[in-house]
Symmetry: C2
Subunit: 178 residues, 2 copies
Amino acid sequence: MRVLGVDPGLTRCGVGVVEGVAGRPLTMLGVGVVRTPADADTALRLVAVEAGLEAWLDEHRPEVVAVERVFSQHNVRTVMGTAQASAVAMLCAARRGIPVVLHTPSEVKAAVTGTGRADKAQVGAMVTRLLRLSAPPKPADAADALALAICHIWRAPAMNRLQQAAAQHASAAKGRTR
Amino acid sequence: MRVLGVDPGLTRCGVGVVEGVAGRPLTMLGVGVVRTPADADTALRLVAVEAGLEAWLDEHRPEVVAVERVFSQHNVRTVMGTAQASAVAMLCAARRGIPVVLHTPSEVKAAVTGTGRADKAQVGAMVTRLLRLSAPPKPADAADALALAICHIWRAPAMNRLQQAAAQHASAAKGRTR
């Protein structure tokens, strides 16, 4: 499974591509950041984010795009930019027919470090170890994007089992009411 | 000046096209709502909003797109959908090189009713009168989109004068420091 992780943001949108399956060593195929100037109009920044993400999708052709789920209880100013950038990421993927899956920051931290309250350094250290890199990816947004992709590869089997169980339950319930 | 007003939302995204200049009677060229199913994935809803807005831009070729400015102090759940839909609206316009201008809800209400605290019915009544319609546009999101377009046509001259004054001030300041 090849996953593009996106840590959405207008100033720095982290992107990371990881390939692998749960239970086997993972491979990093690419990591980077799409940046847009803070003094530009929001509309133009969104166009730049779209162009940047399209280039990543063109180059790596991921099967799934994993995006960080945005919560609005955070900082009022930054949350709007994050929500807007995440909308562009979801749009770019879904427009190509690529499934989009959202993971919360604590799900990502728990997946790669074992605790949902891990700090940036801990996440960076685990991403470095899991992908056998020589140093933690910089900036932190790039490391977070890789962590999102890893989180998705590891959670996907459980998510699929849950979906199958729900589908079976639904069809069984349908059988009973027939 | 031809303006497409967008009242952003995932469930109902209001759109309205108004043509005219400040101080002259205005003409409504179109009004409607782009709807997406509440039970669909957010990513697919954003694709549907994009397709709907693209059709409006293709048909009416506006010179400006006026979008309601989203604030995050509102309801936590709805603000995310509003922010995401507004990102798609800004993206669609800016990608075509069409200027995007944001107006706050109170600026819009003040422009068409004289008070920033007007209710939906008052906005609908004034939009009906200003555009010489036989009845208020329904739903309220459609009327709000028309109000946004009207607000922009009326505020544009003042906004242009302010921009020119700021530019002159900047070039004068530059002259002094030379």
